[in-house]
């Protein structure tokens, strides 16, 4: 590919629009010069021969990048239509569940894999492709731009000057003196000034031009964080139910941590009725323990680490582990108490209290009176063979079979107790009966357990992107060229944006140095609607 030789003698690479040394435009036109990327030859715009170049150019294209971002956006929205698989019951077949809950559309949703969208191979591929696109597009633009700005000369070609949007020239009597004044004034206006045989270049806030690339670096860090996050074992999210007073291992920590609930509590808005109450605040008094036992599978040795009230949005934090208040069940049965009564005399032999989670089997009432719990069904039902069974391990509908043994009935007699009804063992006339004397309730707190190790990476990425955005929007890269052309002094100015501010600075410069009358300034008005 041949080089472009400028009249100043500089060899420019093929594709260059403005000489990188003297600033002479190569297009022989008279209109306002396009200053994008300083007229530098961008590789992706010039070479398109080898496969490597083609791949490079594909990813360097902003259009391709925007298309991928758009697809990502649409896909991410689709993923929120129905709940993701992790939020549906774990024991059901996803295809059936989505069809049952959401009909044909739901079936299609699960069939296409949208129920696992954010960890699907194509979603991850898309994320990576966007990362590639951002990286390549940045390299493709940043390197030539950086070089171009670093190498820029001070004296510019006359046609470069006259084709700037702000341009003016005037005849002065003592050009050297004026140039000296102008230099001092530029410095006063906080420009960095370079001087080269009768030419001045004042430059300000060049770092503004690096803003977009800083944003990109931030986004790439963010993307890397997101990709690490979906790798197995990096992020943990578990759910646990904990009853008042219980101490249980925190799931996902391999019994490293245990948590105890010292009670769940709930406040309800006063205005709401008993039927349609709305919780105002709910909280768990929690204690976090670390299991310091050498053998995590053996008997735990618990050391208290932290004691805290967990509220919604106020999780208990320990290093990367977080426990969030998430849900609750109020008034689960926890204990039933029964009076054992001699039917004929009405004498009460004693009371039996059954823990519904860990029931004992033997209860000694003294005086040779014994009660044995021989069967316990926490969630009673009759199975397909009409046999007593339990639907779950939660005491929603407890049923009991007791055997009462006393000196009067040494062979024992059986009583069936369901919530609300008693049935005696068929064929026998019982002498004793058991009746419910007390019921204790428990609250159950639902905690979300999360372990986030990647969050610092994600916040770093966001922070860098934010700094980049500030570099983009709060500063402007401004340049003013002033040079002697014979006994004239020429002035041209360029800014990356905010032309109005640039104009004011130029006017201030020429007025305070009496360089020229502001009316000599040629200002192309089209910049007002043509901001870069």
């Amino acid at each position: 590919m041949e080089q472009i030789r400028c009249e100043c003698g500089h060899e420019n690479p093929y594709g260059t629009e403005i000489c990188q040394s003297c600033g002479k435009p190569f297009d022989n036109k008279q209109d306002i010069l396009n200053m994008r990327y300083e007229g530098v030859a961008r590789r992706s715009q010039t070479y398109n021969k080898s496969l490597v170049d083609r791949i490079w150019n594909f990813f360097a294209s902003v259009r391709v990048g925007m298309t991928m971002l758009f697809i990502l956006l649409v896909a991410s929205i689709l993923g929120t239509i129905y709940p993701q698989q992790m939020y549906i019951p774990q024991t059901v077949e996803p295809l059936l569940y989505y069809e049952e809950q959401y009909g044909q559309l739901g079936y299609l949703y699960a069939l296409l894999g949208f129920h696992n969208l954010y960890s699907s191979w194509w979603y991850i591929t898309l994320l990576v492709l966007i990362g590639i696109s951002i990286t390549i597009a940045s390299i493709d633009r940043f390197i030539p731009l950086y070089r171009s700005l670093k190498r820029q000369g001070v004296r510019r070609h006359p046609s470069f000057m006259s084709r700037q949007r702000i341009f003016g020239k005037s005849e002065v009597d003592h050009p050297e003196k004026v140039m000296h004044r102008v230099k001092a004034q530029l410095q006063k206006q906080r420009y960095r000034v370079r001087e080269e045989d009768g030419a001045l270049l004042g430059e300000k806030a060049r770092f503004n031009r690096w803003g977009p690339y800083v944003v990109h670096v931030g986004l790439i860090i963010l993307l890397i964080g997101a990709l690490i996050r979906i790798m197995p074992g990096v992020t943990m999210e578990e759910y646990m139910w904990i009853r008042d007073g219980e101490t249980v291992p925190v799931p996902g920590t391999d019994r490293q941590f245990y948590v105890k609930s010292e009670g769940f509590d709930l406040d309800v808005y006063d205005e709401t009725s008993a039927e349609e109450w709305v919780p105002e605040e709910f909280r768990t008094e929690a204690v976090l323990y670390e299991n310091v036992a050498e053998d995590k599978m053996g008997e735990p040795q618990l050391e208290e680490i932290k004691r805290q009230t967990i509220k919604v949005n106020q999780p208990l934090k320990h290093d990367t582990l977080k426990l969030y208040q998430s849900d609750f069940i109020l008034n689960e049965f926890s204990e039933f108490s029964f009076h054992v009564k001699h039917k004929q005399s009405g004498d009460i032999l004693g009371e039996v209290t059954v823990d519904l989670y860990q029931p004992q089997s033997q209860y000694d009432l003294g005086g040779g009176n014994k009660v044995e719990l021989i069967e316990y069904y926490p969630d009673f039902e009759l199975d397909e063979n009409q046999q007593p069974a339990t639907k779950s391990n939660i005491p929603n509908n407890p049923a009991f079979i007791f055997e009462v043994t006393t000196p009067h009935v040494p062979e024992g007699e059986h009583s069936w107790i369901f919530v609300g009804q008693k049935i005696e063992a068929p064929g026998n006339e019982n002498q004793y009966e058991l009746s419910i004397s007390d019921v204790q309730f428990n609250n159950v707190s639902g905690l979300m357990v999360r372990e986030e190790r990647v969050l610092p990476i994600i916040y770093t990425g966001l922070g860098i992107a934010m700094i980049g955005l500030m570099m983009c929007y709060y500063w402007q890269h401004r340049r003013i060229w002033i040079q002697q052309e014979g006994n004239e002094i020429w002035l041209a100015a360029h800014t990356h944006k905010n032309w109005y501010g640039m104009q004011k600075e130029v006017v201030k410069l020429i007025e305070s140095t009496e360089l020229m009358n502001p009316s000599h300034l040629k200002i192309s008005k089209d910049f007002l609607d043509k901001e870069e």
């Binding site: 080089q3 690479p13 590789r43 080898s50 490597v52 170049d53 791949i55 490079w56 774990q90 024991t91 960890s119 699907s120 191979w121 991850i124 591929t125 994320l127 990576v128 492709l129 990362g131 590639i132 990286t135 390549i136 390299i139 990709l227 979906i230 790798m231 197995p232 578990e238 249980v248 291992p249 799931p251 996902g252 019994r255 599978m297 053996g298 989670y357 860990q358 029931p359 004992q360 089997s361 719990l373 021989i374 069967e375 316990y376 069904y377 926490p378 969630d379 199975d383 397909e384 069974a389 339990t390 639907k391 779950s392 391990n393």
Partner: protein
């Protein structure tokens, strides 16, 4: 000089593209690994310790050198109730040949589990997984769920759902030392 620049550019581009290809490959591999459960056939089974209904501590590693049939069950699970007698029948055949059955009850009371075992005359150890740690460790979703551990401690096979007596027999033959 121009050739040198071109060469440098080519090297840069190839390097960037190779790094990217590696990143993409890594991301995809990790995405696929996500679908895998930690208890994989052919790999060592995770060790665990639970109490049995008698209150004794039982470890999976205690049974090294024997075949172990781990069955996750609950009294509220109909198919579990159904397959238990078949497991018991085959246990009686295979226990003298070095095959042990560990029936892990999921989060029920000791009373419920032991009464159930008594009713069905189960003679193998009934383990209590009160806090579902082992159930989670083995990523058990649907029950009954069965894992077959060979004498050297590797997962030989796994099965979700009810087993027929013939299947139980075939699996036990597979893990017999």
């Amino acid at each position: 000089m121009a050739d040198k620049v071109k060469n440098k550019r080519f090297v840069l581009r190839v390097t960037v593209l190779v790094i990217i290809a590696l990143a993409l490959g890594g991301a995809l591999i990790s995405a696929f690994m996500n679908d895998d459960t930690p208890v994989r056939v052919g790999e060592p089974a995770p060790d665990f310790r639970l109490d049995n209904v008698e209150g004794d501590s039982v470890r999976l590693s205690d049974f090294e050198g024997q075949g172990v049939f781990i069955n996750f069950w609950a009294t509220w699970c109909g198919p579990c109730r159904e397959e238990m007698p078949d497991i018991q029948a085959q246990y009686e055949v295979f226990k003298d040949q070095g095959v042990e059955v560990l029936a892990v009850n999921i989060a029920e009371s000791e009373l419920a589990a032991s009464r159930f075992a008594e009713r069905l005359n189960l003679t193998f150890p009934i383990l209590l997984d009160h806090d579902r740690t082992v159930t989670k460790q083995f990523e058990v979703g649907d029950i009954p769920s069965s894992f077959f551990i060979g004498p050297e401690g590797n997962v030989v096979d796994k099965h979700t759902g009810i087993l027929t007596e013939d299947q139980i027999k075939a699996y036990m033959e597979k893990i017999r030392p």
